[in-house]
């Protein structure tokens, strides 16, 4: 928002939208009003409170208040053994439990220095990528709801249900899996799992195109998101953004590529980054686009994993699972690319105990959300909803 002197109109308050100057108020200064959005508000995706200072329809300052879902994850970690933390990590980002477990397992394995069987790595990547698609489907579906498109949400949840059934078949749980263990897996995948996953890929591929046409190319949707909440690349990096948020700002940075872990270096996939043809780089639409395009890449990764996976003959998913996890003294910071960005674990071990001395989860949503104040300044109230939706927060991970 800025004030301009336009000939014939005097001093007017304007905002910029899609490169057009929109006149908001003419010779008017309204009284500042405090508008509290949340903690119970459908568009905040959980219990987040935004205290907005508004001037008419324009937000001058939006301050996020969090902690409503704080469950003392880090304190709990200091009181349980290393393997017992895995179920807690599920509850961080409950939409992408497999990815959270994966990141935690990587961190502890780095401290332990254990060799992981190859088949385990492939299964981990398959379930993590399936979970990424499921998570993106929720993000895209609910983003549609935020902006008034209800149908894509139903389509997304229909397809997500198939993924959750697959993961339930493998692990026994729909969302809180406890499947990826330190050093291995809880159990092998069922015999026909790969076949069913292939069937799902054949079914889902046309659906991504359908979803793209239905939502991403929808004119109302584009008008609500294009040019809104623009974040320049250098500021995004300085804020510590990661994942689709950072790539939406045009930075080609994906931990699966740039700081590879597991078997990702062997796999062929591209990192989609908006080039400014469909969206303006860094706006809400770019972030949505990255998520929409990433699903296809995840499908590619899963296909390659199924083809390359070693056979189940003589395979014991718990072969490398230590009887007692007691890492040598030291510290580690390890991370993985989650659907929402970089999930990192800083773990400190004293070398004697079977419990970590300190376990900190670096949450991607927490960091991404911290830019809220800058993103929302000068935006209209309805656009604030579009911005929150594009950040795709999961309050379970923000508050930990």
């Amino acid at each position: 928002m800025q004030e301009l002197d336009i000939a014939g109109m005097g001093s007017v308050r304007v905002t910029r939208k899609n490169n057009n100057v929109v006149v908001l108020e003419k010779d008017l200064a309204t009284e500042q009003m405090v508008l509290a959005m949340g903690p119970q508000h459908p568009s905040t995706h959980g219990v987040l409170k935004l205290e907005c200072l508004t001037d008419g329809e324009v937000i001058t300052e939006a301050e996020p208040y969090l902690g409503y879902l704080h469950r003392c994850f880090e304190k709990c970690c200091e009181n349980v053994d290393y393997p017992a933390i895995v179920p807690y990590t599920d509850r961080l980002d409950y939409l992408a439990g497999m990815n959270s477990e994966f990141a935690y397992a990587i961190a502890v394995e780095k401290l332990l220095d254990v060799e992981i069987p190859r088949r385990v790595e492939f299964i981990r990547v398959i379930v993590a990528e399936l979970n990424r698609i499921a998570s993106h489907l929720v993000a895209i579906g609910t983003y549609g709801i935020d902006l008034g498109a209800f149908t894509p949400f139903l389509f997304c949840f229909r397809d997500r249900e198939i993924i959750l059934s697959l993961l339930e078949w493998a692990s026994g749980a729909r969302m809180l899996y406890n499947y990826i263990w330190v050093g291995g897996l809880a159990c092998d995948i069922p015999a026909d799992f790969n076949k069913r996953v292939k069937e799902f890929i054949d079914y889902f591929r046309p659906k991504t195109v359908e979803l793209y046409k239905l939502l991403t190319e929808n004119e109302i949707f584009v008008k609500r998101t294009r040019g809104i909440g623009i974040m320049p690349a250098d500021v995004a990096v300085n804020y510590g953004w990661s994942g689709p948020m950072l790539r939406g700002s045009g930075v080609k940075w994906d931990l699966r590529r740039n700081d590879p872990y597991s078997i990702y270096p062997e796999l062929d996939f591209i990192v989609p980054v908006p080039d400014g043809t469909v969206s303006e780089v860094g706006d809400c639409l770019s972030r949505h686009l990255v998520r929409a395009l990433e699903m296809e890449e995840s499908l590619k990764i899963i296909e390659q994993c199924i083809d390359k996976m070693p056979s189940a003959e003589g395979f014991n998913p718990r072969a490398a699972v230590p009887k007692r996890v007691r890492p040598k003294a030291g510290e580690v910071y390890a991370r993985a690319e989650n659907p929402r960005g970089e999930l990192g674990f800083y773990i400190q071990s004293d070398g004697k105990s079977t419990k970590p001395l300190r376990c900190k989860a670096r949450s991607s949503c927490f960091v991404n959300l911290s830019a809220m104040k800058d993103l929302s300044r000068g935006q209209l109230i309805p656009d604030l909803v579009a911005i929150i939706g594009s950040i795709d927060i999961v309050l379970g991970e923000v508050d930990r």
């Binding site: 902690g67 401290l111 990096v237 510590g240 510290e331 800083y346 670096r362």
Partner: protein, 172 residues
């Protein structure tokens, strides 16, 4: 570092980055700890920490543009609390470094680097919330996850949960 030990490329890169910082700040830094899992150094002269941070971010051969994580840590045995910052150069170089800054356990303070990396803003608030060290120069030093009137700092090793909060019994 032990002599004759084979070090990986990533640790060598971190060591090279440390050498540049050490050349500028000398005794303000501790020796480089080139362990495999998380190479780090400690800032001994804490007052210089923002200056070191700025140098790390802006030096053309360092460009530590991205702060991945800032974790508070309780060093109970040393009677200190501190922070561990995992910093790296995003997209330009491959080096990563962890920096440790410590202060007194009771009423200690560490200069804030929220003006160098925005990431530090909320993370420092979280460290204050959980460990009680103050960050001087921070634009908005208040609790973030716990309520504003919460007593004590939960992640300290000797933390005792308060018995009641606004007349509500705190269960444990």
């Amino acid at each position: 570092m032990e002599e004759g030990k084979v070090i990986s490329q990533s640790v060598a890169e971190s060591a090279a980055a440390y050498a540049i910082i050490h050349a500028q700040f000398g005794d303000a830094l501790s020796a480089f700890d080139g362990n495999e899992t998380m190479p780090f150094f400690e800032v001994l002269n804490t007052a210089l920490w923002p200056e070191i941070a700025l140098y790390m971010r802006d030096h053309p051969k360092l460009r530590f543009t991205y702060m991945a994580c800032l974790s508070g840590v309780d060093y109970q045995a040393e009677e200190k609390v501190g922070i561990v910052c995992n910093i790296e150069s995003l997209g330009q170089f491959n080096h990563k470094l962890a920096v440790k800054v410590k202060c007194a356990r009771q009423g200690g303070s560490i200069p804030s680097v929220a003006c160098v990396w925005h990431t530090a803003n909320w993370h420092e608030r979280e460290a204050y919330d959980m460990f009680g060290m103050l960050f001087t120069g921070h634009p908005d030093m208040k609790r973030i996850l716990c309520p504003d009137d919460w007593e004590g700092y939960p992640l300290l090793k000797d933390y005792k949960v308060q018995e009641s909060y606004h007349g509500i019994k705190v269960p444990y």
